[in-house]
């Protein structure tokens, strides 16, 4: 078992190096390539490991510090591997007016974590978000790319339980 896992990891890594080269080749000549490339990497790996900085820097004629500066500026880019699912709870005004504070507290309690943390079973990473454009149906949350409106505490708990059972989205 353990050996299988190690072999699997090794092959993902090997495949990844090629994939990264391919992505870099694909985006390199695009004007303003850095953000699209970072998005593509995060789409692939669900985060942006620091190990990719040097290759990106070389390809786009930037310093590693510049790449790091960009990754860290944007809330969307994750520097650590998140759980299998990402649950975002809207904290902005319209959702506050409809009780999002209660939802936030409930999610933290159900998962025994705070924002920017991952549940112990690696199922869910909890993130705040500031408007999902679903303000007519506040309070709103987003699980991976699925959006939910008029969310009650019971709805949220059901979502969390479901997510814990299911694998990550492809």
């Amino acid at each position: 078992m353990l050996q299988d896992t190690l072999i699997n990891q090794a092959s993902v890594q090997a495949g990844w190096a090629e994939k990264l080269d391919q992505l870099i080749a694909q985006y390199k000549s695009m004007p303003g390539a850095l953000l699209p490339l970072l998005h593509a990497i995060q789409d692939e790996l669900s985060y942006i490991p620091e190990s990719v900085y040097p290759k990106i820097a070389r390809a786009l004629a930037l310093s590693v510090a510049e790449v790091h500066g960009v990754v860290s500026f944007y809330h969307h880019f994750k520097t650590h591997k998140p759980g299998r699912h990402v649950l975002q709870i809207c904290r902005a005004e319209s959702c506050q007016a409809m009780g999002s504070e209660g939802l936030e507290a409930h999610a933290k309690q159900c998962l025994s974590i705070d924002y920017h943390e991952t549940s112990q079973d690696q199922a869910i990473t909890l993130e705040p978000v500031y408007c999902l454009g679903n303000c007519a149906l506040s309070p709103a949350v987003m699980l991976d790319e699925a959006i939910f409106g008029r969310v009650s505490k019971a709805d949220l708990e059901a979502l969390i339980q479901d997510a814990k059972k299911t694998e990550a989205q492809a």
């Binding site: 004007p31 953000l35 809330h75 809207c90 005004e93 319209s94 409809m98 500031y130 303000c135 149906l137």
Partner: protein, 520 residues
């Protein structure tokens, strides 16, 4: 004969189960051997009625809503597809003819003319509903005349700053350059707003057409849509629509046989509020951190990659086609004072009937909150509304008769902005809202200038003391001082306008700060 049934694909409709309703209807129809053709349309914007299912009839579409998947077998039992049947008419979810719903009928939908009616990704549908008429007219005009038409319409930037769109375009037209750009600001950072999202998800071609006309008007051949990363559905719809427009010759080289080229690409933002500020946005598009640039130079003169660039909000650009189609005067005939045309207003927060209301400028907040909104969702009194996003002022009941007009809002030290209206009932604690305004600014500050970077963090600390009851009078004075520094010393409106929600909360709701009146 197969009956056509419309079920929205808009993400807010999806958020309350539209996908489940769609599959329940397909399955139930198959089980019963009834032929239905599902069309995934956009949302009409009556969100409290989503999922709204519409059935096509000779007299127009008949609506049912809000439909849950669990209602579907009951709808079939009531023969809901046969809208003339007594059982269908008597069904508790039957809303009658969609177009006759007062909430919709009283609106003046110009920018949103097609939204909810068409299949968003169908170019044929777009063309069958007056699509690309504006572009056809534009191609008959000189560049200067297109710009003049937009200027004469009175259209002002719908992103919030209300700068006249035609004048901005004229600056870009007047610049000589080997390359110019059209950038659509689709970052829609303001909470309580979703009209940009609705256009992109529900009528993407109108934005594409507007950007194409802008390109032809100022001589730009490349466009970018800088899209909020929180909008994955809009991304998918835009990419599909762009590909189809390109295939059909509406984008690319020699647009519909003319001598004009225009290419368009969507770029994903990455979750920084400040990147909705146009110069920060341009930095981000160039692949950098979103630090705000000093103005001047204006983006119109030195914008993306240093080239003359039109930066416009989604709604500004999506309004251009109807202006070019129906004429400047047609548009300018709507509105009041210097606010010409219509505004797509978004009702949000604690409101019974939330949704998209497009009307000529001039309607009052009270009419919107009660006649359209139906009062609060909780049934309690509405205590405050915030208009214009997180940088907008809070308004008390005594100001609800203010008409929606840029100048009328400025006159009461408030902001109309992008037209988002967020209602709060009397359980809201305005001191907490003031604290949140500072907190949001602290989280989203780009860090380039001190009043914003330091002021916002200090603001949170001082608000905590006020909420805890420590030295209230002294600390409120401190908040006022901090706010003045931010108002006068910030480089952009993030730091510069955070004092609007903060000070309006103190001034209009002193009791929530445990002070007798706002004079302290």
């Amino acid at each position: 004969m197969s009956t056509i049934v419309y079920i929205p694909r808009d993400s807010s409709a999806l958020s309350v189960g539209a996908e489940k309703v769609a599959s329940a209807i397909s399955q139930e129809a198959a089980k019963r051997g009834i032929a239905v053709t599902l069309v995934r349309n956009g949302s009409r914007g009556l969100y409290w009625l989503e999922t709204m299912v519409e059935v096509a009839t000779d007299k127009g579409r008949v609506a049912y809503g809000p439909v849950k998947a669990a209602d579907v077998s009951g709808l079939f039992e009531a023969d809901f597809l046969n809208t003339e049947a007594a059982s269908a008419k008597a069904h508790r979810l039957n809303l009658g003819l969609t177009e006759e719903l007062a909430w919709l009928k009283q609106q003046q939908r110009l920018t949103f003319a097609r939204v909810g009616i068409t299949d968003p990704v169908s170019l044929e549908d777009y063309l069958a509903h007056d699509g690309y008429q504006g572009l056809k007219n534009a191609l008959k005009l000189s560049a200067a005349d297109i710009v003049k038409t937009v200027t004469d319409s009175g259209l002002r930037g719908r992103g919030g700053a209300a700068f006249p769109t035609g004048i901005k375009w004229n600056t870009v037209l007047g610049c000589a350059a080997d390359q110019k750009y059209i950038v659509c600001n689709a970052d829609e950072g303001d909470s309580g707003t979703y009209s940009d999202r609705m256009i992109m998800e529900n009528d993407p071609y109108v934005l594409i057409e507007g950007m194409t006309i802008a390109g032809i008007a100022v001589g730009a051949t490349q466009g970018y849509i800088y899209l909020r990363s929180e909008y994955p559905h809009a991304l998918a719809v835009l990419n599909e629509a762009i590909a189809k427009a390109q295939q059909a010759g509406y984008l690319g080289d020699n647009i519909i046989g003319s001598s004009h080229d225009f290419k368009l690409e969507v770029r994903r933002a990455a979750g920084a509020y400040v990147c909705g500020e146009e110069t920060s946005l341009l930095e981000s598009l160039e692949g950098k951190r979103g630090l705000v640039r000093f103005k001047p130079p204006l983006p119109a003169i030195e914008g993306l990659f240093g080239k003359p660039t039109v930066v416009n909000n989604v709604i500004s650009l999506a309004t251009v086609p109807i202006i070019l189609h129906k004429g400047a005067q047609y548009y300018a005939d709507y509105g009041m004072g210097r606010s010409r045309g219509t505004l797509p207003i978004q009702l949000a927060g604690n409101i019974k009937q939330g949704g998209l209301v497009e009307l000529a400028f001039g309607i009052t907040l009270r009419e919107l909150l009660y006649d359209y909104g139906g009062g609060s969702a909780s049934g309690r009194p509405i205590k405050a509304v915030q208009v214009g996003g997180p940088l907008g002022a809070f308004l008390p009941e005594s100001q609800f008769d203010t008409p929606l007009d840029y100048e009328a809002f400025t006159a009461i030290w408030a902001v109309l902005g992008h037209g988002g209206i967020v209602a709060f009932d009397d359980t809201v604690d305005m001191a907490k809202m003031a604290r949140y305004a500072f907190e949001f600014c602290a989280i989203e500050s780009c860090g380039k200038c001190t009043p914003c970077r330091i002021g916002s963090t200090r603001g949170v600390e001082v608000m905590d003391k006020i909420i805890a009851g420590t030295d209230r009078v002294k600390n409120i004075k401190l908040v006022r001082d901090l706010s003045n520094t931010m108002l006068n010393g910030s480089l952009c409106a993030l730091g510069g306008m955070t004092p609007y929600p903060v000070l309006s909360a103190i001034n209009h709701f002193p009791a929530d700060f445990n002070i007798k009146d706002a004079a302290v």
